[in-house]
Symmetry: D2
Amino acid sequence: MSNKPRSPGRHFLQIPGPTPIPDPVLRAIDQPVIDHRGPAFQKLSKRVLEKVKAPFKTKNPVIIFPSSGTGGWEAALVNTLSPGDKVLMFETGQFASLWNTMAKSLGLKPEFIESDWRIGADPAQIKERLKADKNHEIKAVCVVHNETASGTTSPLQEIRQVLDELKHPALYFVDAVSSLASIDLRHDEWGIDVTIAGSQKGLMLPAGLGFNAISQKALEASKKSGFAKSYWSWADMLANNANGFFPYTPATNLLYGLDVALDLLEQEGYDRVFARHRRHGEATRRAVVAWGLEVLCKDPKYYSPVVTSVLLPPGHDADAFRAIALENFDISLGTGLGRVAGKVFRIGHLADTNDLTILGALSGVEMSLELAGIPHKKGGVQAAINYLAEQAKNPSHKLAAAE
Amino acid sequence: MSNKPRSPGRHFLQIPGPTPIPDPVLRAIDQPVIDHRGPAFQKLSKRVLEKVKAPFKTKNPVIIFPSSGTGGWEAALVNTLSPGDKVLMFETGQFASLWNTMAKSLGLKPEFIESDWRIGADPAQIKERLKADKNHEIKAVCVVHNETASGTTSPLQEIRQVLDELKHPALYFVDAVSSLASIDLRHDEWGIDVTIAGSQKGLMLPAGLGFNAISQKALEASKKSGFAKSYWSWADMLANNANGFFPYTPATNLLYGLDVALDLLEQEGYDRVFARHRRHGEATRRAVVAWGLEVLCKDPKYYSPVVTSVLLPPGHDADAFRAIALENFDISLGTGLGRVAGKVFRIGHLADTNDLTILGALSGVEMSLELAGIPHKKGGVQAAINYLAEQAKNPSHKLAAAE
Amino acid sequence: MSNKPRSPGRHFLQIPGPTPIPDPVLRAIDQPVIDHRGPAFQKLSKRVLEKVKAPFKTKNPVIIFPSSGTGGWEAALVNTLSPGDKVLMFETGQFASLWNTMAKSLGLKPEFIESDWRIGADPAQIKERLKADKNHEIKAVCVVHNETASGTTSPLQEIRQVLDELKHPALYFVDAVSSLASIDLRHDEWGIDVTIAGSQKGLMLPAGLGFNAISQKALEASKKSGFAKSYWSWADMLANNANGFFPYTPATNLLYGLDVALDLLEQEGYDRVFARHRRHGEATRRAVVAWGLEVLCKDPKYYSPVVTSVLLPPGHDADAFRAIALENFDISLGTGLGRVAGKVFRIGHLADTNDLTILGALSGVEMSLELAGIPHKKGGVQAAINYLAEQAKNPSHKLAAAE
Amino acid sequence: MSNKPRSPGRHFLQIPGPTPIPDPVLRAIDQPVIDHRGPAFQKLSKRVLEKVKAPFKTKNPVIIFPSSGTGGWEAALVNTLSPGDKVLMFETGQFASLWNTMAKSLGLKPEFIESDWRIGADPAQIKERLKADKNHEIKAVCVVHNETASGTTSPLQEIRQVLDELKHPALYFVDAVSSLASIDLRHDEWGIDVTIAGSQKGLMLPAGLGFNAISQKALEASKKSGFAKSYWSWADMLANNANGFFPYTPATNLLYGLDVALDLLEQEGYDRVFARHRRHGEATRRAVVAWGLEVLCKDPKYYSPVVTSVLLPPGHDADAFRAIALENFDISLGTGLGRVAGKVFRIGHLADTNDLTILGALSGVEMSLELAGIPHKKGGVQAAINYLAEQAKNPSHKLAAAE
């Protein structure tokens, strides 16, 4: 990291994750390692395994893997299903597509509802497919809660209602990697069977932990699963976790950080956290509209409070634009992935951030649009300022620290 | 620090110092202590004592006290002067006034050129006083380079020219606490006898180090000084420093930090650092003007690249305004000090910062003006954006890291 | 971690891993997260992917998973083999047994050479089995280089010679989790096909990275592997790594740490590192012998330079003993695992440590033996002191820092 | 600090201060700077100013300077005395001598009771001098509680009794720089007028804070003091502190650390802390005696629980010995200062340490004696082990963390 000129001041990390880590979390990680079989660790892990249920809104166990969120995807599939099983997925964007690819690699038979990445998972289309599945061959419905690639959020509760209405017995898997602790999600109340998350987004940690919150139904399913597995085996985890231990060496230092990050979320208050994300999403979209640019997500129902994907006018390379932003203003914007590569850039507005950081970031976008010669109108930042100043008048948005 | 709800995201520390510390500097300070009489420390301190000359632009020794910058003031006076000596000072603001008070407390006879805090030290008035001092009773001229309280910068080189022109033998002392490493200062070239600095501003360190850069003439004067002294004695320091040691326990961990901070400044390049500060000063003033508010410094000659003091319309309490900004947007603005208390607030734009942080900060000011019901026009941030986007087109402003 | 009384001074973490992390590595991990798709990360990961080859002594690619070392085991198996394949394993201890269990869970057919945990993998027994395998049904030979549970080291090069001699085409997999960067290992020269490692031992990092160093032969095998896989897929990793990127979010902050840890190892020099481990192993065993206790490893050929397992006299509970050591002297000793649970305790003497730390640790053991009322002779520490003082006279053991 | 080979493992910093900093304290210092005029800082400093009274056992205010402990000496003198005043000092060693020199530099008239550095301040000799001072010309008695240079501790309470007995009105100043929070000291109960301390010893912080605990009598005296002063002025400090602020920029980050360090001491319990220091002093002296070497302090009454100065046999250079220890075993031992330079080395056994670290350090001394060819007997470490194991049987020595 050294020897290289450093840009002055704070880098603006405005990708939709990994997200900026709060200093107390970084400092917690920066602690000496302790014996992962000793009493101090046992106390820590029992506490963390209990506390981690809060963001999932579950009373059931949450499993923590030393892995990225992608590992959480694999764990959900191989613990509950069997090779050849049919699963239903909805193409919300790149991450849904990657999960689909994974399912195929593992020998599952995903049915993929194709879409144009400009909406979230549509309950109506899901209903249609499930209805057609008279024989209940579909063993699981897999939905990406917040599609990081396209900036859409899917209506989890509505999809649950579809399953209930049809009395379809499929398991319900939710990728909450970029939504957990940023957008409300209720594992138990909404009847989710496996909620998959990662540490590096709303949980405000570096990457390195994958999560599976599981339902009783998922646990039952796991007993009949036909996949060979070892690393991802829930059974070993649950047995060891009961005592505060792990079947193999856990990522101790990230657990220190998780312990602190969960406290910070608790202190701010989850409802306040969710409201903050919604505000920043709205502020960002108002800026985009004021610039005369287009938000990729075309239906307000699916607007993401976490990330906004912005379409550049045809003929303008979004990655060239991002490079200009990075070189001139030390701001990292998200790249367009997959089928929208080069066409969109993404503004992350999630996790450990606040109004002024978002306005600084939007200022960086506005100035970069000018430097890159991209046709736009001025006033995006002003629109966001106007909105956020108005919102600040609402006492319920007061910072927890100011109370 | 714990147990208290924490505002999400980065705090915006926009006071004119102490300033935000770069992470690599904080991490350097966060290192185990070493033996301050051992070879590793000796190597470190020799290196730092050499490197620290760069921001002062001096080839002479720079003395480092475990003290605040205020200690540097006292050290300059008691090492070179004698009780009863007359010194000439200019009332640029609160810090010049405090230095004046200190001089009196120590038994000196300061002649204080009073002013309204809205300009820097005026060479013409200084000239007048020195001219009248036929007997050379004035032993030192004391100037605050950048007056943090009022946001004015004094023309050091012009004042040197006054001394030269008049062939006045007075020593020339400069308080560079809030200018060093933010505004160009040339200790040797400008014939400064003692340049006083602190660690907590442009040097991007926590408070705790006071500096005296000294000239040969100051060194000569120190041999005849009539003040009793011990802690502040240059002689002991210089003798010990020659070997890489200190006469009493040095602030080891801040020296680790200084070592790194000087590298960061070198990597960015001092000229680029100075230009960055000038840009941010101009951007800030453009915002203030666009809001229809008044900059305290009334003469562009003295505009500070480091801090802008802003007058609120009569009847509006600047501290109530600052509290609103802090509670709603987690931004610390500088309080009005002394005679402008309650009338001005100050925006620091110095040290480890960048365009987007400044624009975030200005956004916080604009929104707080609205929340506080202070009459103003919108568009301050927009004015700053327009200016900074224009400046960014100048290739010489490119971030060092992007080269 | 807070609110709890803290024992004064440094904890002595003398388990055979995770190991104490050097401060510069912890501080490197305690850095803000950067964009894992941006140019700064790309530069970092290209550098790290190149540098990480050094401890493996390989010119081939090394794959880094966000996982524990256990993940490395699974990756090695599922990338190269097919369900139903036969593999040969040697029961060096608990970890060999767990790997065997994993192989079975994954659907492989491990042939497990049973042993009493008191020797390393015996080339003669391996030879016998391979010789009998006329049809080359054994597709891989799996050896734990350093068996952390029992404190034995296996002669990798001799086992390679057995394969060569018999012209047996089996792949050769080595678990180097607790040996890498502590005991010499030559992936290329010794014809290892997959070397598996983890971050939390000799590499002096927290747990969270799993490694696979792979040979050309392993790469060929991977093209025919019949396992379904996604997370562990080498192909995706290699394709992305070629550009400095990863197929899914990498554990960025551990990569910062790895970058620094590899530099520290390089600075000390691998040969010096290996010699240090051998010295500390010998010093520890001399203490054990002086106490009149028995080293679990019964054949000097297999003595581990990394960890020493010590048998307590019958009737004494090793875990009760360990609790006394922890409570009175704030030292964590390794617990006996599996079949030696309660019978042995283990002294780790690996990774970032030095003579005085080892002697402090041995002092803790000697005092705990007394407190626990375990029959023993005094003088173990003295024996270690005598040995290490003698060794220190050898100029080649001089600390790199002192040169 | 970089680019240089680093010795593996923890450095053993066994000088009598600065002392090793606990990780939670270092991490506290490694926090972003906050506004030293804002509400968060005010809360912090009010808390710290209250909590810091505990180690002094005082109900009176404690003043905290951004300075080294040496600044605390100067502050005590210039706030309470007048130029030309007579003060009585006892030559316990180098630091008493330096304080004496400072007093002279400041224009005081110290009467210095000379001694051979092998005892602490002798109440009988002090009594004799005070008795002779019929006119009460002696305005202050200055005693170094723990003389770091020679390893002697002075009987503060007895000296107080001498003053009381003689009804001598002199102020009573105690240098507690290396004793505070390591050896019991009762500012109020023992009628001390100024207790001077520094951050870098028993308080387990880096150097950079100087302390003055003051009595009502000292406060009265300060109103009549004839010294010109500014930086060290108690009056300004007390006025500002009342509100939680400081007259000039405080060393914010060290105050963060102090906040945590005081909690750690409280958690361990001061009585337990003092007992620990006494144990380690005794263990060290037993080792020295077993080696056949001589402890500089020749009267057990004055033995220091903080540091042991060890005389080498004539003809052996203590600094050459220390260099051998540093180069071979990465241990820093204290150098002989002033009149015992080259003749003694010092073993610090204070602040954040524990039995195993002390035994590791003593092992380093024993091995270095051998390497340096200094005549000695083996068995020093064994003697210390025997003593500490015996002590560990006493339940009152149990680690707080283990309760």
